[in-house]
């Protein structure tokens, strides 16, 4: 268990003890109306003041209730966590101000300490506390009015905290322009109270941040800082609703996957999977196209084993589809990038003769050639395959290096006429390739060697 969690639990226990001591006093009937009035017309602080009295009474009433105790623990934990973030942001601001002042007034020649900005990523606060906030809370014995109040009061408490965090973050952003994490910090507590089935409640965000442009920034933060595709989508949806714009989940997830494909391939794939889920079943071509996009994300991010698996899944699940051959080819290509010659050789012959792969036959044969070259004692099958490739696909630029390999063999075997012929063919047919450049060098050397002997 992390140190932060231990502190939170200790504080929660102390809080519960103190609450029980307070039960000795009799409390007046709760004035819910005053609280709602304050919420409606007053400041959050005024509403909180009104709410604290009601909460105290409910607290005493349900002192022995485990569900209520859990709810109170969460409130205390949220308060502790929020204040911890605020403290850290304020300290960083102070250090930054001090450093700037030092530069201005003390030692102009002194090098600025680049490490002076040392705030932890907001995500780390989320991750160390997520276990606490996923536990169930709330009592079945609560009356409806009490439940309604507690929901409002809890949100109010969170909103006060997020507002304070936002202020502290903005102060740091002013002191140190490189700090861009205000929105990430503001999201910690709201995200801890959200889930895959429950989007972030925007009521707990500072009021001034509940505009479409701000919600879009939160969407990016969810995606790029936290890697939460669902919450990113939910924020984007709410931003669109505020602007009375149409919103398409599929479009959002496609766009989001592009946005994070390079840095966060797993999040990009999550987005693409969600895009697939958002498309109706009959749009099979679109679903498959998105699966190919997943293969490409894995390939681009050099997760070749995952790419091979995804490509195989397409071929297995959509064997009759027109793009099945393409998926089979990509499966082998991804395997080659993991240097998995054994698996390639075990299965590639079937693919080469598979009618679905007819468009990829040359590439698959080339792949087999490559895999054979990584095996021992395959000289004869390699030579046979090379002969077949040169015969069947002699005009395909892909065979240029194969011709060069054959020429090398012929040179080693002192068949100079045969080597010359192949070297000439490479230069003639594929003049702009690196193979042609090499063939030219080899031919020149060969001519010089023959001339000297």
């Amino acid at each position: 268990m992390s140190t932060i969690n231990k502190h939170i639990i200790t504080i929660a226990i102390i809080g519960l003890v103190l609450a029980n001591i307070a039960l000795a006093e009799d409390a007046p009937e709760p004035n819910f109306a005053a609280f709602y009035q304050a919420l409606e017309t007053g400041t959050d602080e005024q509403a909180a003041q009104a709410g604290e009295k009601i909460f105290g009474r409910i607290e005493r009433k349900y002192r022995a209730d485990a569900g209520f105790g859990a709810l109170k623990s969460k409130m205390i934990a949220a308060d502790f966590l929020g204040n911890q973030m605020i403290t850290q942001l304020k300290k960083a601001t102070g250090r930054q101000m001090f450093a700037v002042a030092g530069e201005l007034f003390e030692d102009k020649g002194k090098k600025k300490n680049k490490d002076s900005l040392s705030v932890a990523p907001a995500k780390s606060f989320y991750e160390t506390s997520v276990e606490i906030f996923t536990k169930p809370a709330g009592s079945a014995q609560l009356e409806d009015e009490e439940k309604k109040f507690l929901v409002q009061f809890y949100d109010l408490k969170l909103r006060i905290l997020t507002s304070e965090i936002a202020k502290a973050g903005q102060a740091l952003a002013i002191a140190e322009a490189s700090f861009k994490g205000t929105y990430d910090y503001v999201l910690v507590l709201p995200l801890l109270h959200a889930s895959e089935t429950r989007p972030v409640n925007i009521d707990v965000l500072p009021k001034w941040m509940r505009q479409s442009s701000q919600l879009s920034v939160f969407s990016d933060s969810c995606l790029l800082h936290y890697g939460f595709a669902f919450h990113a989508q939910a924020f984007a949806r709410q931003a669109a609703e505020l602007d009375n714009k149409d919103f398409s989940e599929e479009t959002f997830y496609r766009s989001a996957s592009r946005k994070c494909a390079k840095q966060l391939p797993r999040v990009a794939v999550d987005c693409l999977k969600r895009a697939i889920d958002s498309i109706s079943e009959e749009k099979i071509d679109e679903k498959i196209a998105l699966q190919f996009d997943i293969v490409q994300v894995w390939l681009d991010s050099e997760n070749f084993t995952l790419a091979a698996g995804e490509a195989k899944a397409i071929a297995d699940n959509f064997g009759d589809h027109k793009r099945a051959g393409n998926a089979i080819w990509l499966h082998f290509y991804a395997l080659s990038r993991t240097n998995n010659a054994d698996t390639i050789l075990a299965n590639v012959d079937t693919a080469i003769t598979d009618p679905r792969c007819s468009d990829y036959r040359a590439k698959l044969m080339y792949m087999k050639w490559w895999a054979l070259r990584r095996q021992k004692d395959k000289t004869a099958p390699i030579a046979a395959l090379e002969h077949q490739l040169i015969t069947d696909y002699g005009d395909d630029v892909m065979v240029a290096p194969i011709m060069l390999s054959r020429a090398t063999d012929l040179l080693a075997g002192q068949d100079y006429a045969g080597a010359f012929e192949l070297l000439d063919r490479v230069q003639e047919k594929f003049p702009s390739t690196s193979a042609a450049k090499q063939a030219r060098k080899m031919a020149e050397k060969l001519k010089a060697m023959q001339g000297s002997k």
Partner: protein
């Protein structure tokens, strides 16, 4: 002092030194000049990139990194004190290929080529009836840099071509430092050997995977540090900030573990080639030499990569087999990579060109008293650290760098941490240093005006 002046002095020193040291040198002993005879052995020269001697198991390393090299060394002749002439590939391999010091063969900088005016090992062998073939993919040892000189066939292209063609247009360029290439080199070499009808032949094989980046494939990536959870991934090791900024002990240990994994991978790949040659009976008709081109450093002197003249950068493994070697042996006498060409020529019976600064190791292998070196020379001219040269005796290393002469006492300071300036030389040091100074004086009447403290 200007760099050019140092180089001029060094060239002079080296030219004189080679003739002046008390060694048995074939070119100066006409009675041992051998005529070309029939049944000359094939020559196989295997160079491994960036392989420092103290990371080789049979040279005392605690990890089992080199079982195949160890076996080869155990069955044949192992030299335990062999030094490269420089700490990086162009000057170091240039010396192996020419028996000249870097300032003489010219490949001292990435903008300089191997001089067209010097004789190469391949060239001399070719002139004497050998077919000469070279294989490798080191981007600094290509034909463009002159390293193909003398080779009938120099394959510095097929690994690149194989890697590029396998991307099927998915990649713009191939970064060779991040790719596994030894298996492709093996494929080309074994294929060439299988098809070869030339006799005798000289085969040069260079394995590049041991060069940074340190990205050994599984299982070698986690072999020596399986529990590491830090950020070091084997890339960017030779670039700032990692080049000059030592990370935590755990990170350094991981860098070394990855390097060791790479050594073991390379040893495995080399073992495949040795097995093939053994199966083909090549051990009976060939002289086989396995060595490293230079070493590597891990912050022993503030940096990574391989720039400088410290022992970790220049001491390399060296083992040789030949049909007429009757007894396996371990030889601790000093040897230099400039000795490789004379040794090979000595075994073929070809007269060693006057150009050569090295000496044959054959007398040492045959337990003759002649041929012992007192010291070796090292030059650094790469630009990453100031140009310098060193004379490495068994106990002392004398260094001239940036106009300063200093030494290390390797008996009391084996890791070369404490500079001893000339004014503090002991009598014994002065005596050793006198030998060098006398040689300098022969070429430069007032050498100390150019290389002062």
């Amino acid at each position: 002092m200007k760099t050019r002046s140092i180089i001029q002095i060094l060239s002079g020193i080296l030219l004189i030194f080679a003739g002046g040291c008390s060694v048995h040198n074939l070119k100066n002993t006409p009675q041992e000049k051998l005529t070309i005879t029939k049944n000359r052995p094939n020559i196989v020269l295997v160079t491994i990139s960036s392989l420092r001697a103290d990371h080789v198991s049979c040279l005392g390393y605690t990890r089992e990194t080199t079982p195949n090299f160890d076996r080869f060394a155990k069955d044949n002749i192992l030299f335990t004190n062999v030094f490269a002439t420089s700490s990086w590939q162009m000057p170091a391999v240039g010396s192996i290929f020419t028996s000249l010091y870097p300032s003489e063969h010219g490949a001292t900088h990435i903008n300089n080529k191997l001089s067209p005016n010097v004789q190469t090992l391949a060239g001399v062998l070719k002139e004497n009836g050998y077919y000469t073939a070279g294989f490798g993919c080191n981007p600094r040892l290509t034909g463009d840099y002159g390293f193909d000189r003398g080779f009938d066939f120099y394959d510095d292209y097929s690994v690149d071509m194989m890697l590029s063609s396998m991307s099927f247009g998915q990649e713009d360029s191939i970064e060779i430092n991040k790719r596994r290439t030894n298996d492709l080199v093996n494929d080309a070499v074994i294929r060439w050997l299988s098809n070869n009808t030339h006799n005798p032949f000289f085969l040069s094989v260079h394995y590049y995977d041991n060069h940074w980046d340190y990205l050994p494939p599984p299982p070698y990536d986690t072999l020596f540090d399986p529990d590491y959870t830090g950020d070091i991934d084997g890339t960017e090791i030779a670039r700032e900030p990692l080049y000059s900024n030592r990370p935590s002990d755990e990170d350094v240990a991981h860098i070394i573990a990855l390097y060791d994994g790479q050594i073991k991978q390379t040893d495995h790949d080399m073992g495949e080639l040795l097995d093939f040659m053994k199966e083909e009976g090549r051990f009976q008709d060939s002289v086989i030499i396995i060595t490293g081109d230079h070493g590597e450093q891990f912050y022993e002197h503030g940096h990574t990569s391989h720039h400088g003249i410290f022992d970790e950068l220049i001491r390399v493994p060296f083992a040789i087999s030949a049909a007429d070697i009757n007894e396996p042996n371990v030889i601790s006498s000093f040897a230099s990579s400039v000795d490789i060409m004379p040794t090979i020529l000595n075994y073929t019976g070809i007269v060693v060109p006057d150009q050569c600064k090295g000496q044959s190791l054959k007398p040492l292998i045959e337990n003759k008293s002649a041929g012992k070196r007192d010291f070796v020379f090292v030059e650094y001219t790469g630009g990453a650290v100031p140009d310098c040269f060193a004379v490495r005796f068994e106990r002392y290393k004398f260094i001239c760098q940036e106009g300063s002469i200093f030494a290390y006492d390797l008996a009391s300071d084996p890791t070369e941490q404490k500079k001893i300036y000339k004014t503090d030389f002991t009598d014994e040091m002065k005596e050793s240093f006198e030998k060098i100074r006398d040689l300098i004086v022969k070429d430069n009447p007032q050498p100390e005006n150019k290389c002062k403290q």
